[in-house]
Symmetry: C2
Subunit: 454 residues, 2 copies
């Protein structure tokens, strides 16, 4: 034991200048043995639950995380007001095959897409036409008038980075309604964004393009999408009845929750670290993005618990309204600009609370190189991939202020098993993976604070 200690004390500092190995081990050890992150996530998911912008639960989550940061002794904790959209799902949601030769009448499980208009009580009964992409709709043109367009494009299973597959397929969900509506379609049904074959419909936001007709949009599960596609192969004139009662109401006041630990040397220079507090109204927003929020709070708490006084100001932000508006992220950037604040880095966690495997980043190449030079610090914790270019959604509005932006990247294989569904619940998060995520976020924040990015 004495011998080992001797070796550690005389470890060569090597390429890093100061050697941060011991402090980084302390950070991870602390997370893996004493972290409240998992219990805090449980409370957020189970005692508050889903937190759609403008909902009472979103307001409760604002207060809960504000209290957490106060309890942990952050130097300053405050709310940043932001007006957010209030979209309400309403009660009944129906997606029914009405005249199948093979299965007769069949109810499909469905959830309206976020931001969608509803059908109202009259519902919509129409023939279904299947497409695999927006391009196909544009090729069909007026042939979709009066119909329900069924977007059945699949995520490419061969893409190991599932977010890449999502990025290609999700345009159907985001813009499919407008693209079909402009040709007179009555409604759209979208295949859920997942690689799995299962029975769970995935919601998520759509964006109505300006000056185009707004038509209702619903998601169905991949199993139901496969069934519907099969039935359409065999039968011309297959019809569906859809009914939803969702609506976009007036904007309401909400908040970003902000907590700071003041920098000892450069208090005016800010490292912003965060996730988004809002979630969809199905499930509990555990991976998306309760986990990211709890990790971010852990960054601040761990600094305080281990007595690390940062050089720069560490600012922890629970962003509001990432899911259907990004208003919190936009307002945060607007205010930062207005105040002339100097951000040296932004770090987000919004890709789930799975085992961390790296960081994406974007900004000056020299800063990216510096981040990559820290890789040896992270390898003992199985965090190895520093190559991806990218950022988190909430911090992305800071890009035009020249802020170096990063997102923690967990292993992405299982994210779309849960994303935007009733399955995104606390039980889907593993305690050690969450803690490793919190340790990884903290270690990176610590290195940026200690070493800077220049």
């Amino acid at each position: 034991m004495k011998k080992a200690l001797f070796l550690i004390l005389f470890l060569p500092v090597g390429v890093f200048g100061q050697d941060h190995t011991a402090m980084i081990k302390k950070i991870y050890d602390h997370q893996l043995s004493e972290s409240p992150a998992y219990e805090n996530l449980r409370a957020l998911c189970k005692e508050i639950g889903p937190r759609l912008s403008g909902s009472p639960q979103a307001a409760a989550a604002v207060e809960y995380t504000r209290q957490l940061m106060l309890d942990y002794g952050f130097d300053t904790v405050y709310l940043q007001p932001v007006m957010v959209p209030k979209w309400v799902r309403g009660s009944t949601e129906i997606a029914r095959i009405t005249n199948s030769d093979k299965v007769g009448t069949r109810e499909l499980r469905t959830v309206a897409l976020g931001n969608s208009v509803g059908t109202g009580p009259a519902g919509i009964l129409a023939e279904v036409v299947e497409v695999k992409s927006i391009e196909e709709v544009n090729a069909l043109g007026k042939a979709v008038a009066g119909k329900i367009v069924f977007y059945n494009g699949e995520m490419d299973p061969t893409l190991v980075n599932t977010f890449q597959a999502y990025g290609s397929a999700v345009v159907q969900r985001a813009y499919g309604a407008s693209e079909a509506g402009k040709f007179g379609a009555k409604a759209v049904i979208v295949r859920s964004m997942t690689n799995r074959r299962d029975d769970i419909p995935h919601t998520g936001s759509l964006v109505y393009k300006p000056l185009m007709p707004q038509i209702p949009a619903l998601a169905i599960s991949t199993n139901d999408a496969d069934l519907l596609s099969d039935l359409l192969q065999d039968q011309k004139g297959l019809k569906m009845y859809v009914e939803t009662h969702c609506e976009m109401q007036e904007d309401v006041l909400s908040y970003n929750v902000i907590g700071e630990i003041k920098g000892a040397e450069y208090p005016e220079e800010i490292i912003v670290v965060g996730g988004h507090l809002d979630s969809w109204d199905v499930g509990e927003g555990a991976h998306d993005d309760g986990g990211g929020c709890m990790m971010s709070i852990e960054v601040g708490r761990t600094f305080l618990a281990l007595g690390i006084r940062p050089k720069h100001t560490i600012r922890i932000v629970m962003f509001m309204n990432e899911e259907n508006g990004l208003r919190g992220g936009k307002e945060y950037a607007r205010v930062a600009k207005e105040k002339g604040e100097k951000h040296i880095a932004g770090l987000e966690s919004d890709s789930g609370a799975f085992g961390p495997m790296g960081f994406s980043s974007m900004g000056e190449e020299t800063s990216r190189d510096k981040i990559k030079s820290w890789k040896p610090y992270f390898l003992p914790y199985f965090v190895w991939n520093f190559d991806k270019v990218g950022s988190g959604a909430d911090i992305s509005p800071l890009e035009d202020q020249g802020v170096f932006l990063m997102e923690m990247e967990p292993n992405p294989q299982k994210y779309f098993n849960y994303h935007h569904t009733e399955a995104d619940v606390f039980e889907a998060v593993d305690k050690r993976e969450l803690e490793l995520g919190a340790g990884t976020m903290t270690a990176m924040t610590y290195l940026i604070d200690q070493e800077g990015l220049k």
Copy 2:
């Protein structure tokens, strides 16, 4: 598109000799889009179930995997006879606190450890003495006589490689009964081997040391272990009643299942790839090691499906009896030696069907270096860690024949959430992670076959 193709065709071959990038992508793409591995695992777990050595289910699994290999068109499929221990759990299992001042009588959930003797219908009622290690028992010596020894050593949560934490803690389970029995203890109760706090007891094998008294051994969950420890703090003379009806019966005949694809250039040189077909009698042996078996069969099936004719003979083995005897692995090595077979490599998957992250290996350093030089082929699939020294249990008896040995290493964070418990069921395995594992095993086998290890 044409431009990209041009670039690919003229890719520099670089350090690798022949460039295998395209074939490796083909292997992974095939797994991620067309693999039957997940469905095969479902059938193994749900239609057959737990497969303890000597059980009817183990026999059914032998026949099931033999049929699979025949159906996939392996060149040769045969059974290798091996005598295995037959340990039977029996019905009632009781671990009861009988006289707590605080909770009165309390039933704890329990499973007898594999290979343990039973208490018989009379059971054992005795005072409980808590220890954290075998060293503590040796220090107590005769003071444990007539008592139930409660081994409550925890897995170290700060070890990122959970197998390392397991390795330190599991000696209590493996040897604790003999070490306490030699001082006259009546029975042992062991804290389950997991980092989690939950209510699930974990079984696993013990080894009775020769010429020592054999006393019954049971596992309790970590939550119950914490409770018991708390109660013992407050109360001298706390007693428990334990009752088990397990017993070791006569050895029975079973089999390793072997399937080969003959090598075109070096048919006498063998690459052996496998997992173990037996499992504990609780749960379904999904991660341990149904997943490893299905991945191994996929190696052979994928070679055939993609028309890869191997240079060396690829031999897929479903080893029997890893869990409580390693008889299959030992017999395989014995027969190989007897026949004078030449194995150029052994590759096992027995660390769960979680997302693959690397390979351990042991053998000549030049071969390890060669394996490591292939890392760039694997990075696109998030497989990055080639440093660990180690092998799989079933192939380890080949070590003294100088065979280069490897094990695929999945991310280990969650393995001990399931290991040896009722929770190790099909639903705990993710389809994509299983497929990536199968792709990784296949790609490594392909590279060893193509490039050799010299």
